[in-house]
């Protein structure tokens, strides 16, 4: 299948053309959309956010709630819906191993991975890569 001219996936992420790839993508999409209202960012951190998908946050926040959460715990942008980060906080309290992952600093989103399979990206190590400067001197030492 030819790559669409508008396809913004990084060169290293082939489109899900093969049967197996396509099946994985379809299974991930169907199950995660149904259960977590997943937005297919391709770099899943659900286990670190109390199983509340941070991409549902209208501000796409990956590191915690904004300051605009309403007093009743609902979202400032969608006032009839609970803040996904209030849900993340509650959910994280019930997580086994990943309870304190809410305190981890999550790297910026790689928008090229939008719509790809995070399972495949995880297996291929594609979602672990932060921009070269992100880790600063530590990253440089590691790369050296």
């Amino acid at each position: 299948m030819a790559r669409s001219r508008l396809d913004r996936r990084p060169p290293g992420v082939p489109p899900p053309s093969g049967g197996l790839r396509r099946a994985i993508l379809a299974i991930e999409r169907v199950t995660k959309e149904a259960i977590w209202d997943c937005r297919m960012c391709g770099q899943c951190i659900l286990h670190s956010t109390g199983m509340s998908c941070p991409m549902r946050c209208p501000k796409n926040l990956r590191n915690g709630p904004c300051g605009g959460v309403l007093q009743d715990g609902n979202c400032e942008v969608l006032p009839d819906r609970p803040c996904v980060w209030v849900q993340a906080w509650r959910g994280s309290r019930m997580m086994p191993v990943w309870r304190d992952h809410l305190l981890h600093i999550q790297k910026p989103v790689d928008w090229r991975l939008q719509g790809t399979s995070s399972w495949e990206n995880l297996l291929m190590g594609r979602d672990g890569e932060a921009p070269a400067g992100w880790d600063g001197a530590r990253g440089e030492a590691r790369r050296a």
């Binding site: 501000k59 926040l61 990956r62 400032e76 305190l103 921009p131 992100w134 600063g136």
Partner: protein, 313 residues
């Protein structure tokens, strides 16, 4: 680091109780509009915040306002919101601000576009506030962009952040403060405080987490002009907790005395905040009411302000 990065930094290093104020927004292409709002604040506050399209309304840009503040001989804290720019534009503007003499920046997510007058706009949110804090520190301390590409001369500004102790999930707020400090925040300005007990609890928890030693926290205080303003803050500005006691107190006053009562409330909150361990200053806000800000500073006994911006470098 022994050299202060800014006048504000010098005051933090000296352990002074700091007073900052938010500069009103202007929709004027006339630079004197900034000067007019600035003049009452001169010598009465230590630094002024230049907001970045506050409440998601476009105004004179924060960078332009900050430069005008510098030209007026005062010190700006330039705010950067993640709402309107992606990582390229934010990094470019951080560097540009430094080149134009801005020595304090304050980095935040920003109100959503739906809070403003261009609700149909595309919200950006390429980064969140914690990403931006980390990237500002990378630019300053590592001398590179996020991509790893080298800066010729890195910025040297002091990096601040905001936190809202009054919005749910309250238990997580001190931990979020910790994440911001870990990401690179060197001072914090809080959301408007009308509920001192909640602030006290937040600060106590932050203290338990060991967050109060190196990072000064400025308590946000709003000077109300009327009961209507209090209702507006409570009902229209997301994330602000205005307790019923405050609403009743200002609402029970006749209209012509509400402004005075607003000043009294602000002075009392400033005095209470001063007594909370870890609160190292206040950040005063109003809506186009600089005279009232100055009265609060005076009546809280915070005048004269120490030193001038001339003591840096």
């Amino acid at each position: 680091m022994s050299t202060a990065r800014s006048h504000l930094h010098r005051l933090f290093m000296d352990g002074a109780f700091v007073v900052t104020a938010e500069l009103g927004t202007t929709d004027s292409a006339d630079p004197s509009s900034v000067g007019a709002m600035l003049e009452p604040l001169r010598s009465n506050v230590d630094a002024v915040n230049c907001t970045d399209n506050s409440a998601a309304h476009p105004h004179l840009s924060a960078l332009a306002a900050a430069r005008l503040v510098i030209e007026a001989g005062m010190e700006p804290i330039q705010q950067f919101a993640c709402r309107d720019r992606n990582r390229l534009a934010l990094q470019a503007d951080l560097l540009g601000a430094a080149a134009l003499g801005v020595r304090n920046v304050c980095l935040m997510t920003g109100d959503d576009v739906t809070a403003g007058d261009h609700k149909e706009a595309k919200p950006i949110y390429d980064l969140d506030s914690i990403h931006l804090l980390r990237i500002a520190r990378i630019m300053r301390d590592e001398g590179t962009y996020l991509s790893g590409r080298r800066l010729d001369v890195p910025p040297s500004f002091l990096i601040g952040a905001v936190e809202n102790p009054f919005a749910p999930p309250l238990e997580f707020r001190p931990m979020r403060l910790g994440k911001k400090i870990e990401a690179g925040a060197e001072f914090i300005q809080t959301q408007i405080c009308f509920n001192v007990p909640v602030m006290r609890l937040f600060m106590a928890r932050a203290g338990d987490l060991g967050l109060l030693d190196g990072v000064p926290i400025l308590g946000g205080v709003f000077v109300l002009r009327s009961a209507k303003a209090a209702r507006y803050l409570r009902d229209q500005v997301p994330g602000i907790d205005v307790p019923d006691a405050v609403m009743e107190r200002i609402g029970s006053m006749p209209a012509e005395r509400q402004a005075e009562e607003g000043i009294s409330i602000a002075v009392e909150i400033v005095e209470e905040l001063r007594g909370i361990p870890g609160i190292r200053g206040i950040h005063l806000m109003s809506i186009r009411n600089e005279e009232a800000i100055v009265r609060v500073v005076r009546e809280a006994g915070l005048l004269p302000r120490p030193g001038t911006t001339a003591d840096v470098r």
